[in-house]
Point group: C2
Chain length 234, copies 2
Amino acid sequence: MVTKEHISSKFDAELEDIRNSLMQMGGLVEKQLSFVVEALAKGDADLAEEIVDTEESIDRMEMAIDEQCMRIIARRQPTAGDLRLVISISKTVAELEAIGDDCKRIGYALKDIIDKGYDKSMLLPARHLGNSTKTMVKRSLDNMARLDADAALSVLRSGDDIDTEYEALMRQLVTFMMEDSRSVPKVLDAIWIARSFERIASRAFNMSHHCIFLVAGKDLRHRSIDDVEAAISD
Amino acid sequence: MVTKEHISSKFDAELEDIRNSLMQMGGLVEKQLSFVVEALAKGDADLAEEIVDTEESIDRMEMAIDEQCMRIIARRQPTAGDLRLVISISKTVAELEAIGDDCKRIGYALKDIIDKGYDKSMLLPARHLGNSTKTMVKRSLDNMARLDADAALSVLRSGDDIDTEYEALMRQLVTFMMEDSRSVPKVLDAIWIARSFERIASRAFNMSHHCIFLVAGKDLRHRSIDDVEAAISD
């Protein structure tokens, strides 16, 4: 942990508690992402439904952790590293909640595709993007758990690969639509799925910034990756 | 103001400062939205470029306000209403920053459309959605300034109208694509614009929740509108 031990061991326990809650919530979001990729691979409407239903639990976890964070700030009046920990956790749960929303959107879009006639090959590239995105989210959560700013930096660097994969996928889907106009509604669902993955990746990107802020004590959002690297190796 | 006067008049001044900074940032975001609607109406590539360029200022404002909020928490150790004010402001600037990002995305999409051949009539419904969205953002900011939870509730209620407008617009754009497959790339840009407006509206929705949390002291996200109404009239 970044934080030193406190005179109040109860305060230490509270900080440990919100870290554990964050990791539990992160675990659920990772599971959602695995289900999303699996449901896309199998055209599984029941699993898509389950993904949609699980979003509520993620929302509840966000609100509970957020309240814990507020309570710690009000009662314990943390400063320096402790305050950064609480603030980073609060921001990270907001990103996780947004990823939960996007998983739900993908669940709906997949259900729609299944209604219109599931097409495994059309969804294959989106599934690949889903796998890359899932890995990015997993790495971001691991870095937060291990307080590893260097690894968070390498997640930031991987953003470009996701962008490249996303752009190629979009070009392919646009071609499908232009070649067969009847495919438009179905391909559009695949486009929403791709777009949701791209947004999930950008959430993982943000989470990596929250991790860097926590560990290095610097808010380096909106800076070039090289600037971030220079700043954290200071 | 929700907060009483403090023994330290410097603390009062600091709270007033972050409220003013928030409103200044809100003003800039509103201006961006006006420019977005105007650029869509005129097919104005220079204005689209300006929108893209202005996003950096919005990012900088977010980071500056966020830092002010952290500093107040660390030095002043606010509790109750003061803490809610600081937290709500920090969350609201994150929404405003995201709206800034979406304006930038719209700027890029419009530039793309102009490159492919500007089509005023194709963009007309998206412009209407843009106007509705702009109004929703403006109302959310006004409510935050006036600490008006009831008016924030009515913004939440207006979310359904935006959804209806968005759905109708999407159906229309899908029809365009199916009727003329050559139009697909251009219509897809219009779809991104519509989607961005829908996301901006959902940011205004979130801002209204932050306002309700600040004024009524209750986190009522993810609850039905009727539940929210019952809770704030308690």
